[in-house]
Amino acid sequence: MTAGHEIRDAVLRHERSALEIADEALARIAAVDPKLNAFVTVTPERARARAREIDAAVARGDNPGLLAGVPVAVKDLFCTAGVRTTCGSKILENFIPPYSATVVERLEAHGAVIVGKTNMDEFAMGSSCENSAFFPTRNPWDPSRVPGGSSGGSASAVGARCVPVALGTDTGGSIREPASFCNVVGVKPTYGRVSRYGMIAFASSLDQAGPMTADVRDAADVLEAIAGHDPMDATSVDVPVPHYASALRDNLSGVRVGIVEEFEHSIAGDAALAQLYAGAYGTLRELGASPVSVCLPHARYGLATYYLIAPAECSSNLARYDGVRYGLRVADGGDVYAMFEKTRAAGFGAEVKRRIILGTYALSSGYYDAYYVRAQKIRTLMKADFDAAFTRCDVIACPAVSCPPFELGAKADPVSMYLMDYFTIPMSLAGIPAMSVPAGYINGLPVGLQIAAPAFEEARMLGVAHAFERATNVVRQRQPVVAADAQGTGAGSRA
């Protein structure tokens, strides 16, 4: 397949036009998406107009930037001015934002061509994309299986080679788990590294936008394009953005890789998974890294902590969807409170309602100290766990998931779905960067390796992931089923 950086180089060298690349991506989406349902909205006119602008800029001798002419899919919770933004929900089914998210503006400022908006679990609540109010998205490696979630549409679109680059968001694993399921690279940056302005909030203290890409080099370029302080987001941090691409490494000599004892213990019972990850750690060692064992004693409280803090914040964040100013309104008699109730009853799906109720309960008077305050204390302890671990290692390598992609409908019980985030939640609670990079296959289904680093050390993390990617070449070993079906159409023919 063609990676984003390869497209950019070809566009800047005048070898290919942005318009032709956009058309290929759109053709590929037209051919493949009926099987996947990765997109909620495709924007061909907007994409072609943008591509023509890029071509005109290149023709003038300008450099449109890191992502010149690169087709990009954007998770449908980033506001895009003039383009419907649903957040996977009935309540925003017809919502057209008057403004764009900062990351969308930054992508476009770097020459990206946005081709559409991708499906997701409603309000980013879910791990399978089955909680979309519209339709489930399917996994390009096996369309009977889920692509993961909540950024499942973005993962599926990149995994199926519709686009080399997509934007996702990660609250407790919503980039890393679908990246693992769809065999793509997915990066959750440090909390505060990337602006949240214009990104529809689920849990404000955890949400981060990040790239989901064909390879690590693309992830580095996209992160460089979107990272940095935004005066519109008070929680974005004013720390200089490095040139991540120059941090990409080919060997890992001198790198201490932390292996998490508790996590190894929990996968020990699954021979295939244990073998796959043991192989991945072996590759890191062969590249020159020295493995060290580290402990995250509070990781076992991660899920419980997360399922107090995230619902608490969401119960407040989602209060604004009331039918007064925008989105769905159900007003068939009664007073304004009746309108609120009917609108929200009709507009939100079951999982969203479940979390609003959980969060409302956790914040209510008499329970706040026992739940929310204690959860915040555990969060502090979890941060301390990572701080201690990073005195002994430079990065952590660990499982991204506890299983390969599962079949649609396999996790009907909400708690079994929540458990999918077991390995990804601790990093979210600690606010540190973490990513998933393709690590291998179990029964032909992809599985990712998670790499985590201290806050704002994305360059280090990407460097390790790049060396691992080059050594294993996992993505190029196999073709996704959907890609094989669609041979001969569009960009896929260039793979």
Binding site: L77, F78, C79, T85, C87, L92, F95, P97, P98, Y99, A101, R196, Y197, G198, M199, I200, A201, A203, S204, S205, P231, M232, D233, A234, T235, A312, E313, S315, S316, A319, R320, Y321, D322, V324, R325, Y326, V336, Y337, F340, T360, L363, S364, S365, Y368, Y372
Partner: protein, 487 residues
Amino acid sequence: MINEEIGAAQRAEFETVIGLEVHVELLTRSKMFCGCRNEFGSPPNTNVCPVCLGMPGSLPVVNRRAVEFLCKTGLALGCDVAPFSKFDRKNYFYPDMPKNYQISQYDMPLTHGGAIALPSGKRVGLTRIHLEEDTGKNIHGGATIAQSQYTLVDYNRAGVPLMEIVSEPEISSPEEAEAYLAELKAVLSYLGVSDVKMHEGSLRCDANVSIRPAGSGELGTKTEVKNLNSFRSVGRAIGYEIARMRESAQAGERIVQETRGWDEARGVTLSMRSKEFAHDYRYFPDPDLVPLTIDSALLERWRTELPELPSAKRERYISTLGLSAYDAELLAADRASAEYFEAVAEFSKSPKEAANWLAGDVRRSLQKHGIELTDTPMKPGQLAALIAMVKEGAVSGKAAKEVCDVLVAGGGDPKAIVAERGLAQTSDASAIGAFVDQAIAANAESVAAYRGGKEKAFEFLVGQVMRVSRGKANVDVARALLKARLG
């Protein structure tokens, strides 16, 4: 004023405990958490953006100027400014609130303590001052909510910076509550942090009222009185509440903790909601905002920028400028009057005369023309010039009143006005003699009375001479001539 019934309640064995919660809109250029203009009276929904409309994905950013205004208020009132505070979300559903939560400060307000010193000398302690955002405004289609087919919402006010000042329950009468508000208003106007217009809602007040047996240390059950639209309605509503509570207490009834609304037209408070329906606001720290830190160097800089405050001005007006306590209080009540007065005093070198004019004739003329001191075209230098003319004898006190009224209405050079209207004072004996003759001729009875020994009639006749002269006659000359003629 407070009716008799209430006066009786205060004399009885109960004492009143009042605490005030005052909301003040800050006079910043932009809103609390976005760049929209903070402006009263714009066409509906014109000062709005994704942030103050609570659009999906929008985020708040703190207006540092609002923080500065609050901290300066705190410094002026002797509060402790917290070096570290935070914002919390107060969650409840209401259509004028775009996010269905209000960003406020719950357990870590920007200031603690402090006090407001009343002109009486009493100090009313402050509990806290915190920063929050205002809501929009609901405009109902009908006369009341119940009669409305629809409600429109104007979000221009949504997100306007709001400072909440909470007093300790240390106010003990309706009059004291009004004095507290007047003093607070004066301080805020001096600081320039708010335009403190109660009728435009930039200063709003809720009163917590309770009664207890005199001398008791415990607080009685309180009611919270809302919908108070003027200082006077604050006083009246509290007075009504005290009387109502006292009646209940004497009838052996239980006082219910509730929110009551003041009905200005009927002069009563009515129950709005009782505690059974109290909201659980589910406060929690706003994860969209980082904690607020105020460093001590900045705080010290703000302290040096504070203007002279009303209590200090009153003190100086009395002790240094020789003003009466009444004039000092009146002139120091707001920054504009104080600045005007000080300018007139400075130009005329006669602070007492300046005060007399401003507290007397200027005030009456302003009322007559229905304008504020800030609106009059009369410049302080013009009033000072008039005062100087009186002193020099160029114009009589009586004629000067007429000139003053002209100045208040239209401004101008007092000398020109005097000349134009022929009001220059004359000491010319022949001219004044003619006025004296006219007065004597027209007031035969008074002349006879005076000659018959009634001294008082003389003053009346002096007045008549001045009237006939339209105030132009030098009163001392007139007096001498009159005495001589009647002699």
